[in-house]
Symmetry: C2
Subunit: 460 residues, 2 copies
């Protein structure tokens, strides 16, 4: 348990109304979207950069581990409290410190909701491209920690590509500033992109300067039905080989389609549809028809049942709501979702999904796959019953085989969810021992006592 | 001087025909584009990753400093030999190890010429966006070390945005592998982007996996003349505020225009032209006219004298050749060019150039400015006579004032040339002491004996 002196020091640094150690609060902050729970020793709600620095100095002095947390919407245990740690929730740090449409940037605190940044930008004809499925409630601090992405990444890139500069607090409680306010800059090492994706293990981000882009005038959506998974993924590879870059290229397998049926958006699919692509293009209203024609031409091929365009704005919103509901909707299939966010080269997607089918059959498991196929990034969900020990064992065997295959195909363990607690045992299969030790050595420079989000990313 | 035993060990590791310590070779590798010379103790020409690892193990054992070098075309002394060091030239490592158009990537050794990557990609309808002015002869290893860019960065980003993964050798002679082969990946810390822009101070890059993009079908160029600098830069800010992203947005001041007159491309400029913009758009032939119209609308305003489009392919090539000749052509004005590659927010460009004019007058200096205005990235050249001690002193005073102003405007010391030896004394004005010490600490993890490109980036 947290020493009384440490608790008192946190209260003295932040004020008593920003430090809670009652059982109810601790239970509320015990988990993220993974099926694990660890009660933290206390939950802290700093209101400013200075308070974050102050609490970290207390943590450093008293050797208290810190678990940073945005909305707790992560999928890999990144915000799962380390035993004996205090959670630092950034919920109260949600100020927009600067909005500068002329230089196309915004400076925000980490507790700002991702979608709110996009909405603010749109008021000035700009937008914030990264659009994680949890965008309506996740916080930008969590997005930066995990290098979050979403459907638009296929055209616009990931959170890393929009972080110009950061203000942060190291594991010693010291302030650092990284990067710059301009779209180019090579002064010193790129600590901005080192912090982005580091899962809160190097520093606590307290301010982020984010790049914005001009908002596209119009968007058009294609819903494309295929007779089977393989032909759908071959079509993805064809789309990614030609010149018109879609602004989204999403895939759903048969089970994912079944999971969205309650939304009504799958009622009019052609008979025999076993795989679905959602393809989006953006640009000016004048050029969109040509883009859509090019995409339709690339999509055309074996297995194509229907490519439907011309949806109204409301219908498009319903399609996307259905797609974004998938992450939760699949839980109807079985109570526990083991969610793997893997990436393979686009040219190997079809082979990879064949392997998944084979593995699911061999281990008698329900597997649902969907995701950002244009980036080769699939969310592979093993749907299991946690009380069924035999099924859980088979799921673990499947997981091992899937990760091995991802790496054998030239892929990577995580595309946008990060490593957290859930994938760290696989990390040595992707990263060699020398490189991994270098990462640990870098961590020690930021956080010599290992207080920042311990138990994440690195294998034991 | 290099101990005989170290020289023998290098010869034993690489073969005698890859290690030279004769005076002529050492003199050839004594400088880059800066006006300084330091003869290295020897020059090494490794032919493979394994040879780089072998030579670095020798350097580690014998505590020999290493100066990595591509084409020596850098502007900041990044390849200037540290006293007592050996130059490692990557000229002989110029294999394309893999070209994979389907997954839009290429794997290259560091000695490959940048333009050759672009040419190879175009054979498959793709392109490699970063286009430094020295692209015809600079090497991709140097581009990665300095995070090189060029005109296309305004739309397509910089070298950092195209490096997917790296193979490299640390200061201990150990191999590391960073990143992945896919467009998304968040497994472990982002060492790829930590190495890019680190100027060869963290590791020697031996292989790079680079992302390619679909080549645009067509390009159109506007040459836009203004009555003065301020109105031209106000027009740049207007262009960057609207939705059509130019694929280049280059600025030349009066002296830069005069410097390209010998090329003949300035013969038909309207009388009274004192500032020039080159604005490019790319896309399909069908959509280009609309893009050009939008850009022309944004450019229109006070001071506009002429916006000329419809150049033939050859004329465009001549315009760009003239623009790219500037870096050398300005040397006609005075024998020494003190070249500053600074960045300010686009909205502050006009104020910054006003300040430059004021400073040039106050210090009685000839200053030539041109560059990538769409990114706020100007190449400010103080043209001086090195034998004129008073002028050199005034140039140093001007330089101090310019750097202070850049930072006061929210800019950064370098956009694409890097810090090298030339700007390191200014670094503490941009990067605070804690952050800078963290960078040094990171360097020690990669290179505990400080053997990799010493004397660069960090102030003494």
């Amino acid at each position: 348990m947290l020493p009384k002196r440490a608790l008192a020091a946190f209260r003295s640094a932040l004020g008593a109304d920003r430090v809670f150690d009652d059982a109810a609060t601790r239970a509320l902050y015990a988990s993220d979207e993974t099926p694990r729970r660890v009660d933290p020793d206390a939950v802290l709600f700093p209101a400013s950069h200075d308070q974050v620095a102050a609490l970290m100095r207390v943590a450093f002095e008293h050797r208290v581990a810190v678990t940073p947390r945005g909305a707790g919407s992560g999928n890999v245990g990144g915000a799962l409290p380390a035993p004996g740690s205090v959670v630092v929730s950034f919920e109260c740090m949600r100020r927009v410190l600067e909005f500068n449409p002329v230089d196309r940037l915004v400076v925000v605190e980490p507790g700002v909701v991702t979608r709110d940044i996009d909405h603010l930008a749109r008021e000035a004809g700009l937008f914030y491209p990264p659009d994680p499925g949890s965008g309506d409630y996740c916080r930008i601090g969590g997005n930066l920690a995990m290098n979050a992405a979403g459907p638009r990444a296929v055209k616009y890139g990931v959170t890393r590509d929009y972080a110009l500069g950061l203000r942060a607090v190291t594991g010693r409680g010291e302030e650092i500033r990284t990067g710059c306010r301009t779209t180019k800059g090579v002064t010193g090492y790129d600590l901005t992109r080192l912090l982005v994706g580091s899962g809160g293990t190097l520093a606590l981000i307290t301010e982020a300067t984010l790049k914005l882009l001009p908002a596209p005038e119009s968007v058009a959506t294609l819903r494309v039905c295929f007779a089977d998974t393989r032909t759908a993924l071959d079509a993805v590879a064809r789309v990614m080989r030609q010149a018109v870059m879609p602004s989204a290229l999403e895939f759903m397998d048969q089970r994912a389609i079944d999971a969205i049926r309650p939304t009504g958006t799958a009622d009019d699919l052609p008979v025999g549809t076993r795989a679905l692509l959602m393809v989006e293009a953006d640009g000016t209203a004048a050029e969109l028809p040509r883009q859509i024609a090019a995409l339709e031409a690339a999509l055309d091929g074996p297995g194509l049942l229907e490519a439907k365009s011309g949806f109204e704005r409301d219908a498009i919103a319903r399609l996307w709501a259905a797609r974004k509901s998938l992450s939760h909707a699949v839980k109807q299939i079985a109570p526990l979702k083991i969610n793997e966010d893997v990436v393979v080269p686009v040219s190997r997607l079809a082979d990879f999904v064949d392997f998944l089918d084979h593995t699911a059959r061999a281990q008698r498991l329900a597997v649902v796959s969907f995701g950002h196929a244009g980036n080769g990034n699939l969310h592979v969900n093993l749907m299991v019953h946690p009380d069924d020990a035999d099924e859980m064992a088979r799921a673990q065997r499947a997981l091992e085989a899937i990760m091995q295959q991802v790496l054998a195909l030239g892929g990577t363990l995580s595309g946008e969810h990060g490593i957290g607690t859930e994938k760290r045992r696989f990390v040595p299969q992707e990263i060699d021992a020398v490189t991994l030790e270098l990462m640990r050595a870098i961590k020690r420079q930021f956080d010599p006592h290992g207080l920042l989000n311990p138990g994440k990313i690195f294998p034991d």
